[in-house]
């Protein structure tokens, strides 16, 4: 039983649906319209990304500008607590930086690292997964053992080793300049096996389908079959794990920064902000840790909720596109 409208050759006047029409009639939009959690998550996510991107214009002060920092105004509480300065809505940190501005800039750093690392993971993982799944044999065995080895090192270990090496070779100052890109590299390298495994599994499933045989019979080159035929059909699982991986990468970065292996305090990410406030938790300045912490939780939560929704929609068992 087919539920799609079957065009018949006897009525040769199809109306070509545009991309927008296709999207409008798609199951993706339909299920999104009916899922309140997904809608809310997307709105919050867009607001947060928007705020992070527009940080230079939205933030009251520039936390990277040492001139604007007033040490006398350090550890001021947020506006609803007595003793707050109306100039600093969310209060200030131990160095007297405006917390709201720092969080906005920090979110920027966290998001850049999160997305950058996932981009790197995906590039490596998708290529390796495609090669392993399509070519099979020794290449498959080699790449998958490589993935196993990579997974047996935790992200933390990679970060410690790479960070220490970098610092000892180029010195701390250079490290601060390149810290963000170094983190992208570390988290990207540490977690590519997730992609490689997922992609390999779906490549194995797709490779057995007859359209791949048809492409081979046609005489197409391997590269074209892999990238033009198989890859587009493995995109659904790639999208789904990407959401989870972005959330994971942001958490990893926060964890590394919290341990002092990540972003320097001069260019704080959410993680290093949490860490910088941690020492003052005892002295009563809880907001320096708690507010960035909350932002981090919300950010990761909405990404994960969106990922859950996407997984449900794209799950081939529930829906065949």
């Amino acid at each position: 039983m087919t539920t799609s409208t079957t065009p018949s050759s006897t009525t040769p006047s199809p109306s070509t649906p545009s991309r927008w029409e296709r999207f409008r009639d798609s199951f993706l939009l339909y299920s999104f319209k009916r899922d309140l959690v997904a809608q809310l998550s997307l709105i919050i996510f867009i607001l947060m990304v928007g705020a992070a991107v527009l940080a230079p214009w939205l933030a009251p002060t520039n936390p990277y500008d040492l001139a604007s920092i007033d040490l006398l105004a350090s550890e001021l509480p947020p506006f609803w607590i007595e003793g707050a300065d109306p100039l600093y809505v969310m209060g200030t940190d131990a160095q007297g930086r405006d917390l709201l501005s720092t969080i906005l800039y920090g979110m920027r750093v966290s998001l850049v690292i999160g997305f950058g690392a996932v981009l790197l993971q995906a590039t490596i993982g998708v290529c390796f997964g495609l090669l392993a799944g399509y070519l099979g044999g020794r290449i498959d065995a080699f790449l998958m053992r490589l993935a196993d080895i990579q997974l047996s090192f935790s992200t933390l270990m990679v970060a410690i080793v790479v960070g220490a090496l970098f610092k000892s070779i180029f010195g701390g100052a250079t490290y601060s300049d390149y810290a963000m890109w170094l983190l992208v590299l570390i988290i990207g390298l540490a977690e590519w096996p997730q992609y490689a495994r997922t992609v390999r599994a779906s490549v194995l499933a797709e490779r057995a389908k007859e359209y791949v045989d048809a492409a081979r019979v046609m005489g197409l080159r391997r590269r074209r079959i892999m990238f033009r035929h198989i890859l587009p059909n493995t995109l659904s699982p790639i999208f789904v794990i990407s959401t989870v991986q972005v959330a994971n990468a942001i958490i990893s970065e926060a964890a590394l920064s919290f341990l002092g292996l990540g972003m320097p305090e001069t260019q704080p990410s959410l993680g290093s902000l949490i860490k910088s406030g941690f020492d003052y938790l005892q002295s009563g300045s809880w907001w320096i840790t708690l507010i960035p912490g909350l932002v981090l939780v919300v950010l990761v939560l909405v990404i994960n909720l969106l990922g859950d929704w996407l997984r449900d929609v794209l799950n081939p068992r529930l829906y065949k596109g």
Partner: protein
């Protein structure tokens, strides 16, 4: 009174585009020991019909109307618990894929004994001896050994024999077989069909055989229904329909078989394809593919695309076709209830 009577059965599937009418106005009856074939192409609704008999249609499907009367009981209004007593016990099913019925982690013996004990109060030993007897009936070599084997250790044909043994376990009144041999090879299929036929005759079990294979239907069944797009379009004694089909669709289906054409010559095809159930043509659902919507004198028979045809009697068969109705307008009998 017939053992099973289905009247005006409507089954729908609630989908986001709206309800899909999978079965409409399906009526048939089945006598004790009778073998009935339901024939149709994919999408005709023949499997839905089988599943709805036992109220086994999965969500979003539901029975929207009509009645199913089995041995004096109304199945559509039964509770799940009452239905379970009928299912497996008095009406059993054989599926196309044996693995749908067999649990891969339980041995054949465990499954058969469990099934028996769920429906009858008997000891494991009794259940075991009944199981053995049933396995012997389906002509499985060394049945003792099979009891301790697992489904994956058996070949496809052997599994289907086990399924038949399980279907017979509780001495049912009706066996519904949904494409029981489609997944099997021709030589195995022939044996399984012969076995099924033999057992049904011997134990006086009624059989509803759902298939797309006209050859199988003609060999096994006494009466048959032809379904198209959720409706029954022709029913009657199998021999009569096979030898002289009345409905243009049945004729087309038979003529499309390669056996019916001279080798190497063009086959008589039915043009177009089965309409999708969410976009059914008006009137007779077959009219866009039908060659007989114009009369011999060239005039258009408008009723074909305007009204749903009722049944007319033709010999011992009933046909839902305006053309047939018109041709024998004198003795047209509008059939409210289908008489067996």
């Amino acid at each position: 009174m017939a053992l099973l009577e289905v009247n005006h059965l409507d089954v729908r599937f609630a989908l986001r585009q709206g309800d899909i009418k999978a079965l409409r106005d399906v009526c048939f009856s089945l006598d004790r020991g009778e073998r009935l074939g339901i024939v149709g192409e994919s999408g005709a609704g023949k499997s839905v019909a089988a599943f709805s008999l036992l109220n086994l249609i999965a969500k979003p499907g539901y029975i929207a109307g009509g009645s199913i009367n089995f041995d004096g009981q109304e199945l559509t209004s039964m509770s799940d618990r009452q239905l379970r007593r009928v299912r497996g016990h008095r009406i059993s099913m054989i599926f196309q894929d044996p693995m749908m019925t067999l649990n891969p982690v339980l041995s054949i013996g465990e499954q058969m004994i469990e099934c028996l004990k769920a429906h009858r109060r008997i000891s494991t030993r009794e259940a075991r001896s009944i199981s053995l007897r049933k396995l012997e009936q389906v002509q499985i070599p060394s049945p003792e050994k099979r009891l301790s084997q697992y489904p994956h250790e058996l070949s496809g044909g052997m599994r289907q024999r086990i399924i038949i043994a399980i279907a017979l376990l509780l001495d049912p009144d009706i066996i519904i077989a949904d494409e029981p041999t489609t997944a099997l090879d021709v030589t195995i299929q022939a044996e399984i069909m012969a076995l099924l036929l033999e057992l049904c005759e011997k134990h006086n079990v009624a059989l509803i055989l759902i298939t797309h294979d006209l050859g199988v239907v003609s060999q096994v069944t006494q009466r048959m229904l032809v379904m198209y797009a959720g409706r029954v379009i022709e029913q009657g004694p199998t021999r009569e329909i096979i030898n002289d089909p009345q409905h243009p669709y049945t004729q087309g289906l038979m003529n499309a078989l390669p056996q019916m054409a001279t080798p190497g010559q063009r086959l008589n095809q039915i043009r177009g394809s089965m309409p999708s159930l969410n976009n059914l043509p008006s009137g007779c659902t077959f009219h866009p593919r039908c060659d007989f919507t114009t009369r011999p004198d060239g005039s258009e028979r408008t009723s074909c695309h305007e009204e749903v045809p009722g049944f007319v009697r033709s010999g011992n068969c009933q046909v839902a076709c305006h053309m047939v109705a018109e041709m024998q307008d004198a003795n047209r009998i509008p059939v409210e209830e289908v008489t067996p």
